[in-house]
């Protein structure tokens, strides 16, 4: 699936819910499903600095594709982080660099992308793009 197909799939999943409560319950469920990282892997090196909830993200590069694992200490953030990983992970650096992440907005979670939420999500996306840039230069 392309990045956009994955985004559309998420948007479709969320279209079933018509109130914020159900939407958040689903995000919480997604958050709980994210496997997360083992404690020793949550190091300073992989910490994405956000003020309130912390996000850890570990990249791996193999066979031309970037793979990400991520975790957060807040469940809502973890759910959203999980969605970002589901959309962006296992794509080529070039695809990731080109990606326009419209799903967050379409799902109605735009507020979580505002830098004032300080939930680490904005920084996380920036970091993913930075990794993509680094690996695309290596190719």
């Amino acid at each position: 699936m392309t990045i956009n197909e994955r985004q559309d799939e998420l948007v479709e999943e969320f279209s079933m819910f018509d109130d914020w409560m159900e939407k958040y319950e689903y995000i919480i469920d997604l958050g709980k499903e994210v496997e997360g990282l083992e404690e020793p892997k949550k190091t300073e090196e992989f910490l994405v600095k956000g003020c309130q909830s912390r996000v850890w993200m570990i990249p791996a590069f193999s066979q031309g594709k970037l793979h990400f694992e991520a975790d957060s200490d807040a469940i809502i953030t973890k759910g959203i982080v999980g969605m970002v990983v589901r959309v962006l992970s296992d794509n080529t650096p070039a695809e990731i660099l080109d990606a326009d992440l419209y799903f967050v907005d379409k799902i109605g979670l735009r507020e979580h992308l505002s830098p004032t939420r300080s939930n680490g999500l904005v920084s996380m996306i920036k970091k993913i793009k930075t990794y993509a840039l680094i690996y695309s230069a290596k190719e």
Partner: protein, 421 residues
């Protein structure tokens, strides 16, 4: 329908319905619910009188002060100085020139920290407490770095109080300044400041109090406290942002050098020698926040009107606090909550965590329910480290909050518990 029942619980003479009408911002919906504003410790809302005063000033009265012979300038000067007078009376300073207008608490603390650069040297000590806001930590760290002095920190106990014995053993002849908050923004603790000041004075050390969280809840008398400096912010006191006050004893303010150079703070300027203006102008370089000063005066006038008054404000807020704590218990929430800052002597601030739920998650869902609380470290990271937590959820009540709103908070928390449980 609950009104009768609840108004009985309010034993103060405050007419809360009437007071709420004076705060236009409260009457709006957020995410489809009537707004419940419980982030007052971060910044309080403004009564119509403050808004009107500012609007009237810019509409009909604006001009620069202290410099014009013309009518508007003279009028604006009179009003600005009248604001200073109101503040002097409110905090019972000996002179109006002991009241310096600043941008806020942070600005006032930095002014003093800067002034002490010439006073401290290596071997000297500055004492703060483990309860301080970053703005009463970082300026002193910078001062110590600059002068080679040492920063000493009084530890706090489990319920969020300064440990007096530790303080006593820290103050010494080396102590050149003690800087403490009057009321903790994160834990609500009201410090026994009179006692703390007396102890410092015994060793000859001056004391600065950060009163950002005290002024909104209580009447403060700087002469009675006998502190050398007292800083607070207008915006937490139902006044405008960008204005604050630094009180200082005359002899100390005279001793300190000016903070910033510029217009208004000079007596005469030549390239050879500039002489500084006297107090308070020595510390008010440049065109000040005139509208802010007028707005702050309006906020104090509003609170000091006979039907309100800080005594009733404090008492009513205490009733809200007691009610909330009681309801957490009787609604079966207490067992799922961890409270931080449980001193007997505290302001209407409740810092807590729902067990197993990240404060960000709690705050996000409460916001969806129209309830504004603060989540995070509240600019007091050392307190979070002390309790080994990433942050808390903080609900802080003001005198326009109601018992019904406390119920909304409790319903909201039940909802959060269910969602994350």
């Amino acid at each position: 329908m609950f009104l009768v029942q609840y108004s009985n619980m309010n034993t103060t003479p405050l007419n809360i319905d009437k007071i709420r009408k004076d705060f236009p911002v409260l009457h709006q919906e957020v995410n489809g619910y009537p707004l419940v504003y419980m982030d007052n410790a971060a910044s309080a809302q403004k009564p119509q009188l403050v808004i009107d005063t500012i609007s009237h000033y810019y509409s009909y009265e604006h001009s620069n002060i202290h410099r014009g012979v013309h009518h508007l300038s003279a009028e604006a000067t009179v009003k600005y100085e009248a604001a200073r007078k109101t503040i002097q009376e409110h905090i019972n300073a000996s002179f109006d020139h002991e009241v310096i207008f600043t941008k806020g608490t942070t600005d006032g603390i930095n002014l003093i920290a800067n002034g002490f650069r010439g006073i401290l040297s290596s071997g000297d000590e500055v004492i703060i407490s483990g309860l301080e806001h970053h703005s009463n930590i970082v300026p002193w760290q910078m001062l110590c770095e600059y002068t080679g002095a040492t920063l000493r920190v009084i530890p706090i106990n489990d319920i969020g109080e300064i440990i007096l014995e530790e303080y006593e053993s820290l103050v010494s002849e080396r102590t050149k300044l003690v800087a403490l908050n009057h009321v903790s923004n994160t834990l609500g603790t009201i410090n026994p400041v009179k006692e703390l000041i007396e102890l410092a004075h015994k060793k000859g050390a001056p004391v600065l109090l950060d009163g950002a969280q005290a002024l909104p809840h209580m009447k403060v008398d700087v002469q009675d406290l006998d502190c050398e400096f007292y800083a607070f912010s207008g915006h937490k006191l139902y006044g405008p942002t960008g204005i604050g006050v630094l009180y200082g004893k005359e002899e100390w303010l005279n001793k300190l050098p000016p903070y910033q150079g510029g217009g208004d703070m000079i007596k005469s300027v030549s390239f050879e020698k500039t002489t500084y203006n006297e107090l308070p102008f020595k510390f008010e370089a440049g065109t000040p926040h005139i509208a802010g000063a007028l707005g702050l005066k309006a906020a104090l006038d509003y609170c000091n009107q006979p039907e309100i008054g800080f005594e009733s404000i404090g008492q009513y807020e205490g009733e809200l606090l007691d009610y909330a704590m009681k309801q957490f218990e009787s609604e079966g929430l207490s067992g799922d909550m961890e409270f931080y800052g449980t001193s007997k002597n505290k302001a209407s601030v409740i810092s807590f965590l729902l067990k197993g739920v990240h404060p960000y998650d709690t705050g996000t869902i409460l916001d969806k329910l129209g309830i504004a609380v603060r989540t995070g470290h509240h600019c007091t990271e050392p307190i979070m480290d002390r309790y080994e937590i990433p942050g808390t959820v903080r609900a802080s009540f003001s005198f326009y909050n109601t018992f019904e709103e406390v119920d909304r908070l409790i319903e909201g928390l039940k909802r959060v518990k269910k969602m994350f449980g």
